[in-house]
Symmetry: C3
Subunit: 444 residues, 3 copies
Amino acid sequence: MTDTNTNMRLKLPITCFILEIILIILFGVLVEYDKETDARKWHHSNHIFNSFHPPFPGFQDVHVMIFIGFGFLMTFLQRYGFSSVGFNFLIAALALQWATLMQGFFHGMHGGKIHVGVESMINADFCTGSVLISFGAVLGKTSPVQLLVMAVFEVTLFAVNEFILLNAGGSMTIHTFGAYFGLMVARVLYRPNLHKSKHKNSSVYHSDMFAMIGTLYLWMFWPSFNSAITAHGDDQHRTALNTYYSLAACTLSTYAMSALTAHDGKLDMVHIQNAALAGGVAAGTAGEMMLTPFGSMIVGFLAGIISVLGYKYLSPILESKLKIQDTCGVHNLHGMPGVMGAIVGAVTASLATKEIYGGIQAISLAVTLGMALGGGLLVGFIMKLPIYGAPSDASCFEDSIYWEVSSKKLLETSKLYNDKNKSKNPLRLSSLYKSYHYNRKKKW
Amino acid sequence: MTDTNTNMRLKLPITCFILEIILIILFGVLVEYDKETDARKWHHSNHIFNSFHPPFPGFQDVHVMIFIGFGFLMTFLQRYGFSSVGFNFLIAALALQWATLMQGFFHGMHGGKIHVGVESMINADFCTGSVLISFGAVLGKTSPVQLLVMAVFEVTLFAVNEFILLNAGGSMTIHTFGAYFGLMVARVLYRPNLHKSKHKNSSVYHSDMFAMIGTLYLWMFWPSFNSAITAHGDDQHRTALNTYYSLAACTLSTYAMSALTAHDGKLDMVHIQNAALAGGVAAGTAGEMMLTPFGSMIVGFLAGIISVLGYKYLSPILESKLKIQDTCGVHNLHGMPGVMGAIVGAVTASLATKEIYGGIQAISLAVTLGMALGGGLLVGFIMKLPIYGAPSDASCFEDSIYWEVSSKKLLETSKLYNDKNKSKNPLRLSSLYKSYHYNRKKKW
Amino acid sequence: MTDTNTNMRLKLPITCFILEIILIILFGVLVEYDKETDARKWHHSNHIFNSFHPPFPGFQDVHVMIFIGFGFLMTFLQRYGFSSVGFNFLIAALALQWATLMQGFFHGMHGGKIHVGVESMINADFCTGSVLISFGAVLGKTSPVQLLVMAVFEVTLFAVNEFILLNAGGSMTIHTFGAYFGLMVARVLYRPNLHKSKHKNSSVYHSDMFAMIGTLYLWMFWPSFNSAITAHGDDQHRTALNTYYSLAACTLSTYAMSALTAHDGKLDMVHIQNAALAGGVAAGTAGEMMLTPFGSMIVGFLAGIISVLGYKYLSPILESKLKIQDTCGVHNLHGMPGVMGAIVGAVTASLATKEIYGGIQAISLAVTLGMALGGGLLVGFIMKLPIYGAPSDASCFEDSIYWEVSSKKLLETSKLYNDKNKSKNPLRLSSLYKSYHYNRKKKW
């Protein structure tokens, strides 16, 4: 179907071209290789190689979480798989470039130049993760152009927040900033008539299977995620180990709470796909401290319980009372566990008799929440302008608004699966298609 | 549908909470960081870094095999995808925690403490792999509570077996122990009326596609799996290389045998998904020896042939004669190839004029088989107690017993795929759903 | 259904067994461990460990691209998923063994022996990638036996080409050789009546989702792919970094061009799945040079534009005018971007005042194109012999020719999804199946 408002023929190309050309020009002016990447400076640096988790494999693990993990985690919606994985792909590709510039600019230039290398790649992927968390809150209700605009502003504000915190917050910042920024944007973009498309705001069997791919990749690589930017050596070991135990304990409490709270004692895929990851978020800040596996497991155990309870009882209230329509429940997966992680970090730091550091953690959380909510409010109103081709209330959670999804494709599938007599002979089956002329080649 | 017996409202939460709380207490009492993970002991250890396959990336590869590899390999069943990947996730999360304790306890405490670090994580994942192999034998016929009980006992017995063998068996132990333990459990849990659900004990097109994801991840990372715990340096190189060639040769013989034995010369997905992996199992023990690529290819070539023949001719006999209903055919993928690997290891060791070592291999196999069969018998009877909410014969291989699988979900899919006139207009298509009120948000 | 011509009962087993036995014999005679893999030579070599991207994790990333990346990228076809991922698996398993021999033979024997180790594994995977690119051009129109024959010849010619170029071409060679070899084979195998199966030469919703898995793995690991064989140290950093930026820029221009050119301003999955990867191809040769992120982004940006335009306007012309039926559009993904990459490499080299090297690049491209087109012509005619069980025009793009795809499987699915009254009760649902006796166990 065609809709002049949501038609991306010009809106999307213009946005992408302008953004990418600006990026290319800025990279040309500002960016140069760091000393580990530049042929002339190479001999200065071997210090990061001899590490527990070599930087490049660490980067690749984080990269998989960004594109496969976040991308497929959001494919649970029955008719929104192309958009979930496809828009995740698009905004991540933009965000990591923009983040390289913003982080380089705010984290210190070298003689007027931004130095790039594997560490800037990892940091850019982290900042991108924050944008993808916000994407989860507005999933299904926004156009790709709106999402690109959100990415540009959120990356900028995230880098400013990092600058203010002097990176004290650790990975907690990624989750809390991303979650509360996204929730505020969702609040501003509140749709009172979203019920018009609620029949599509649900999963089907195969879409839940695809979402599990995302869940498991995030779960498996979370130890890499939390340890990728910690100091090398024992810190990195400890962070990975603590995250691993926190996630394992979280998984058991998630299954327990899901069966306890869900309809007639059955497990709910929504909980398994999301709450089982809360342990990774909650271990984000304290993970590199001497939290011990014991402490990590307690943190993960509680994170799973809080997250499931959030999905079950808090999210409906957020929608009905606060008018926040949080499609993926990022508040339960990233918001609350992120805040919990910050508190755990502050307490753990204090116990290590570093009261000051504990205080810094508390302040970091407050600043991050303030920046996220304020920024989300501002950017939400920018995104609300009626110029980006947002879907109507009835066409939310629907791929065919922005993607070529031939109804014949669906029809062919049903034909294929339904004809009883002929399906025994695939060749004769093909005769069924004679009347349809959808052809991949046609699309060229 | 609801079934008071299989209702997990209380059974699963109680089991998960009790197990996790016990784990947390024991970790608090017994576990501490190893010298590479502890901030105070760090300076003692750089020896494992400078390796061909750094320990943490090696761990991540194994971790992917455990959660994606085993999880998706079992998703071939048409109506059991949630349980295959979801229960795999649950029991693996429990098993890796319990294995850390059991292996730490039996493999030597340090001043009354169990030391944990990347090597304990890899060993725990291996032990978990053994439990997941057993899971394959009882797939579709057990409740999550039964599986958690199985995991606790199997992990314990596996650690005892490792203790007895002084780790002589290598990765062969994982496969043979897991397979024969699982087969014995399946024997004890034999269901004479399983035919009532045999229509669901089969695959559909997309479920076979999901299973291929599991197959390929196991296949690709098997060189990491076999080399992750070998001595670093040339041993690790050699193990990875031998495994790689064994798997490649195995794949060709698997395709050949599948076409040769399957119905009218067509390839059978069951063979491709499973038998092509037998080469990795068979190269498990001898892989680190000077087996040579030549020897590895012969081993893999034969493993593929044996495995396909097992699926085609032996499995039906196991079911009809020995009353062993081996859902995933673990005997063909892990059992026979594991025994073959042990023999190859013994022979290779002998040829290297280490007769004694060869003898140790043979004894290791005998001990492992004895422990596995005896343990499986015992644990099978424990699992047979009618208190775990096992599915009825007619409700085996069915997700909706334990998972929220809305019939409306399925209905929506069919509607989506069937309406001919309206499907040309996705917006009007949505009108079809008006009558259904299944909504992801409702599930909160 | 059965077709005596396409029946693989004997053709496939005979081919696989003969090829594998030849391989085993040649490995026995010619292959030995390299100094890093041999227990007796180990002490000589630590030089490759201390690298930015350790060799084995680098190999594993490339391995994932070969089996998951290429395999799933081709699963977009609605009825050809088993063959796409399954034949990719088969020919890759053969090609990497044969490539080890051919590359070892042409790249220099050591005292009459071919030395194997992680570097030979990476090189063999690269050569395999070239074969899989060619597979994309003939996807759906060839039998597994034809593909195995193609693999043997293409690997040989690829190794000869590498030998002639002294490896000057870098990864550009893989793409241009694979693409133009495959296109020439497709030309020779031209089917004037392919329209008989064009209704199956298209995607359905879930098949496009599976294809995105392949796309994302190729995209994410492309930095590993391009940097896996470069000199270690800063070259490797730079190659990974340049590839990463080239791909990011390419993704934005791909989305822009897709919306600009596709039907009523909607995004086309064909473009997203393929053109977004062109940036990795185009950065293949110059990636290790001082191309700078700025230069890399320009290259990627242009590659995305060229690739989408190729899918939209050039591919139909290739089919109608040149009679080249390029199923996956490899000319747009690997062909043109590969040539572009070679030119960029030549220019970049020249700018670095290495005119000679620039010249070498240009000559390398010419030689590669000549070898690919000539070889493709020859091998195309060998593949055209009517002895391999190729599918008829009407049975192209159809799994059930070569795979056990029970029509009952499909039927069950439709039943499962269609029954309205009973589907509310899964147990009673099962009664629907009573009439079907397809059973996984039956297949043993």
